[in-house]
Structure formats: structure tokens, C-alpha cells
Amino acid sequence: MRWWIPGSGCIKEPYEKESKIMDKSSINFSSQAPAMSLALEALPPPETPWQEFLRIFQKDYQALFGFWVLMLLLFIALAGKVLTEWWVVFDPEMVRLTDKFLPPLSVPTPDSLPTDRPFVGMYLMGTDELGRDVFARMFQGSFVSLSIGFVAVGISLSIGIVLGGLSGFYGHVKLGFITVDTLIMRFTDAMMCFPTFFLILTAVALLPPSIYTIMIIIGLFSWMGTARFVRAEFLSIREQDFVTAAKALGIPEARIIFRHMVPNALAPVFVSATIGVASAILTESGLSFLGFGVPPPYATWGNILSDGKGFVFDAPWLFFIPGIAIFVVVLAFNLVGEGLREALNPKLRSR
């Protein structure tokens, strides 16, 4: 069974055949330089990094599974944003006290107002303690949870890349008596000394509760790892020949950094971003559990789960549906992250 990934099309098999031909030709004509150059002209261009990445990623079934789950989730989240907020088909905030604690797939009770009935004629995932439609709430929550993950990771990546890049590229510059590198890395070390979750909890508890506070705080306290390995990548890339060549050509420094160095340092950043989204979603659910989650008008999966924990016996679906949803999504992010790590890291390839 072959999986289809956009852009990969039918690259895989023709290419593998031709690579065998190339091996043979290079052996046969190795002593005859003119013939070899003729043969090379007929050969396909060498595999680009992107094709190589796809070839490895496609073999990793766990990562592919995660990838498709995430694509589906992205679609659900966008649809959730549209259908619960802009064009309200599923109303997550509608309270129907006559329809409390209905199990999944049950139809509304005859007492409920006809205008209050859910769109599909039944409660796909049941109702909660206020008679709100759990399906609509999960639908809305998918967008909120995912956006918390993405925004938090966006913030932490920006801080991490800027600080790591600065200290990797301009590390030797002196500011008074200390270098930029010392300044930034000692600050990073100091931040790493704190227990992250406790720090996030403190900040979220002390600041006024809002969804933006949570996104920003999670982002502000999780950039340390990114900064450290961006710095390490920059330190090693800065010494490589193509950077020296670029400098010799007189290319401006900003262009060297952003066009030549950043793309080469991005691979580990991608991996940590994917895994960062997963851990941001988990952190948000942990904060919800402790009572510092996203405040009521928004439903998030963590919210629904921590509200549902009081009804494990009376209404188990309130607990299990969000719990399993978080589990599947976080698992998918982790699997994709790990697949990316395998596919992007040349050191691991031989294994």
C-alpha cells in the first residue's frame, strides 16, 4: 500500500531505478573520463534534500499516521472555527437544562425547545452538566487548543532563534566586560534552573486570566532548549566553507544569516516545534486541571476534560472523549516530530 504525500507524486520508484543505473555507469566508465561525462549528462539531477526527506519520511508508518491525523485535525479545527463562531451551526454555548447529561448519540428530550435542538438532530457526543452539546464544544475546542499550541510555539521559537542566533553569530562581540554569548547563555542557564511548569503556573496564576495570557506565558517560558541548539548549529555552520565563501563574495551579513545560515539550522528547530506543540497542549490541560486554564467563554479540550473529571461515574463520556482526543492529537504530534527527527538527521540515517 502506498501513501500519497503532496509533491512526492511518483518520484520514488523511477528515481530508485535510475540510481542503480548511475552506480553501474560510474563503475564501468570510471577509467574513461570523456565517456563518463557523456553518461552524466544523461543522468537525472541528484536527489534534492527535500526528496531525500520525503523518501525517508514515507517509510515511517507511525510518522505518516501522525501526519494524516494532524492534517485531519487541522481541517477539523478550521471547520470548528467557522461552524461554531462565524456561521453558527453547532452552538457550544447553548444551555439546555432539560437535556442535561444525555449520553452520546441520544436524541433531545421532547421537553426541549425545537429551536434549541442540535443541528444533526442528536447529540453526537452527549451533553454536559448544563446541557451543552459536547460535540459542539469539542469542535470549538479543537481550534482553541491547537491555536494555543501554535501560538505558544511560535513565540518560543522566535525568542529561541533570535537569542540562539545572536549568541551563535555575534557571540564574540564584547559588551563592556562580557561577551554577548556569555550574557545570553548565562541568562538561558538561569531560566533553565527553574522548574518550567511551576514557573508557568505562577505566572498564569498571578496574571489576569485570559486565553492570550496562557499562550504567551507558555511561549515565554519554553524557548531555552531552542536557543541552545540554534546556538550550537550556528556555531558549527559559521565555520563551514559555504559561509566563508559567501563572506568572500561580499554578501551582506544579514543575507548570509537569513538566506544561507538559517535554512541550514532549521532542521532541529522543526523537530522541537512539533514536539513543542504537543507539550503546549498538555501544559494547557494541566493548567486547566489546576483551575488556571482558559476562562469560560472558550472551550478547550483541557477545559472540557477537567470539567468532566467530576462526572466520571455519572457521565463518563465527559471525561473520556476529551481525554482520548488530547491523547491522540499529542501522540500524533510526537510521532511526527520523531519521524522528522529521523528523516532530517543524517546521523541517524544508517540505523
Binding site: Q62, R186, F187, D189, A190, M191, M192, C193, F194, P195, T196, F197, F198, L199, L201, T202, A203, A205, L206, L207, P208, A278, L282, S285, G286, F289, L290, G302, L305, S306, K309, V312, F319, G323, I326, F327, V330, L331, F333, N334, L335, E338, S350, R351
Partner: protein, 320 residues
């Protein structure tokens, strides 16, 4: 060697000063003050708030407050805002409660993660390997409290043992055997929950480390010499694969406070994490800052210890 240790300690002391600055200013720059915990209470008059602020030095500039905090911390006179109890004995009591949880969890992590990871690496690609790798992803992907609730439901429902809090109330008159079993049951489930994340992460590290070592030339040489596979793996490869994990001991220490907030809350365990949570709810700045500070001290001494240990066990590393 001594030179190295002294310089390292010096660097870490400087870092600790930065950490204390960050902890202090971070807590005080955030809005929300101890005097504002209960703003709707009609009995809180403005003069009461002014009195509270004066008593806690909240009207002074930040650097003066910092000086007060450091002075009181090292005199041992630091008082909690909430109940005016000295902070350090309070933290010490809770630390003693957290300690058995932490020790058992650590033992579980280190005894289970290594065999699991090593076996997976040796039988790479087999059914066992693939399923444990997948399982470890699954375990780090479950929200901790979701899993804990499932565990509580299952254990209490099927085995009928108590799991909430540190011991059952009213067991003082019971036989010693009952008392001990009671304590053990209360301890087991939270420790397992606390350990699960660590087992999942550490076993994957062990596995990839072992794979890295097994692919090296000297292992191939050992095999080519005709050594038995067991000698190659356990005699030649294992030692080198385990070396980096000496450094991980140090990183475990701060988990004592940070990682246990949620689990101690679920299991109503009166430990450090719960103290931290209560302090946050009460805006109890001295306790929050001191906990952060202690966590930083633990982390720094942990990394120092592991640096030295690493140099001791690995002769290839020269200290200078």
C-alpha cells in the same frame, strides 16, 4: 581537578545570583499582590491594605525588597505572608513528605527504563522493540491527570485499596502491619504515575544511546574477534552506552518540585508541589520565591555533581 571544581562552583554561584534576581523581579513585576487576594471583601479597608503592604515591605523599591528577602532567607527569619510561619521549616516538613514519593519514583524510573531500553536496542526492529517505542510515545502523550484518574478508578474499584493522601485517617490504633501496608498502598500509585513519564523518556534515550554505541567500530571488532554476543553487549558496549546517563542524575532533582504539582494535587499528597500550589493561590511571595530558589540550587548542585561524576567515570574527559 580541584581547580576545575572551584571554578565550577564559582560560576554556579554567579548564576545563582542571577537566578535569585530573576525569581524576585519576575514575581514582583507580575500584577496581583498579596494585599489584593480578596479585593471584594468589605472588611478590607484601605488602611488595612496599607498596613499589610507596610508590614511586608511592599511599598519599598524592588531592590530594597530583594535585599530584605535575601537577608531574611539567610538569617532563617523569612516568614510566610499567609500564616507568618517561618518559611524554611515549612518547606523542610513538606520536603520530608515528598521524599518517599520521589525516591520510589526515581527507583522505578532507573530500574525499569534501563532494561527496557537496552533490550529494545539489542533486539532492534523486533516486535518488543517496536511496541515499547510506541508505548513510550503513548505514555508521554497522555495528560498526567487523565491517566491518574484512570489508575485511581481501576485500583480503588478492583483492588479496594486506599490511594488518596499520605495515609488513611484514623488508622493510629491499627496493627503495625496494617499501618505499613496502608502507607505502601498510598505511596505506590502516585509514585508510579510520577515515574511513568520518566520511564518513557529515559528508556528511549537509553535505546538510542545503546544503538549508537552498538554501531561503532570497536563493537564490530569485538564481534570479529569471535567474542560471544553477550560479552560484546554487556562487557564492551553497555558501559560506554551508560556513561552519559550519569549526567541525568543531576537533572532529576528539580523535578522534585516542578513535576509533582499536578500529581500531588490529584492524590492530595501534602508535599512540596502542593505547598507551591497553595502558595501561588495565596500570593505567598516568600514561599514561591524560596521554592524557586531552592529548585535552582538543586539543579545547579545536581549539574555540578554530574559534571564531576562524569569526569571521574570517563577517563577521556580531562578537567581544566
Amino acid at each position: 581537578m580541584w581547580n576545575f571544581i572551584l571554578r565550577n562552583i564559582g560560576q554556579r554561584l554567579i548564576l545563582l545570583v542571577i537566578v535569585s534576581f530573576v525569581a524576585h523581579s519576575f514575581i514582583h513585576l507580575a500584577p496581583g499582590e498579596p494585599s489584593e487576594v480578596d479585593p471584594m471583601n468589605p472588611r478590607m479597608k484601605p488602611e488595612d491594605i496599607a498596613k499589610i503592604r507596610a508590614a511586608f515591605h511592599l511599598d519599598d523599591p524592588l531592590h530594597v525588597q530583594y535585599a530584605y528577602w535575601i537577608r531574611d532567607l539567610f538569617n532563617g527569619e523569612l516568614k510566610s505572608f499567609k500564616d507568618s510561619q517561618p518559611v524554611l521549616p515549612k518547606i523542610w516538613d513538606r520536603f520530608l513528605n515528598s521524599l518517599p514519593l520521589f525516591i520510589l519514583a526515581t527507583i522505578l524510573v532507573w530500574t525499569l527504563a534501563f532494561p527496557a531500553g537496552i533490550y529494545g536496542a539489542v533486539h532492534r526492529g523486533g516486535l518488543y522493540d517496536r511496541s515499547t517505542v510506541f508505548l513510550s510515545y503513548a505514555l508521554i502523550s497522555v495528560p498526567g491527570f487523565f491517566l491518574s484518574y484512570l489508575a485511581i478508578l481501576w485500583v480503588v474499584g478492583w483492588l479496594g485499596v486506599p490511594v488518596i493522601s499520605i495515609k488513611t485517617f484514623g488508622m493510629e490504633q491499627a496493627e503495625p502491619a496494617y499501618k505499613i501496608m496502608d502507607r505502601v498502598w498510598h505511596l505506590v500509585i502516585p509514585s508510579v504515575m510520577l515515574a511513568i513519564g520518566g520511564i518513557a523518556v529515559l528508556s528511549r534515550y537509553v535505546r538510542s544511546q545503546m544503538l549508537e554505541v552498538l554501531s561503532q567500530d570497536y563493537v564490530r571488532t569485538a564481534r570479529a574477534k569471535g567474542l560471544q554476543e553477550n560479552t560484546v553487549i554487556y562487557g564492551h558496549a553497555l558501559g560506554n552506552a551508560l556513561l552519559p546517563f550519569v549526567t541525568m542524575f543531576g537533572l532529576l532533582l528539580p523535578g522534585l518540585i516542578g513535576g509533582s504539582v499536578i500529581f500531588e494535587q490529584i492524590f492530595a499528597w501534602p508535599g512540596l508541589g502542593r505547598l507551591a500550589y497553595e502558595a501561588i493561590l495565596a500570593r505567598d511571595f516568600p514561599v514561591i520565591m524560596t521554592l524557586n530558589f531552592i529548585a535552582a540550587v538543586l539543579t545547579l548542585s545536581g549539574t555540578l555533581l554530574s559534571d564531576i561524576l562524569y569526569a571521574v567515570v570517563d577517563p577521556r574527559i580531562r578537567l581544566h
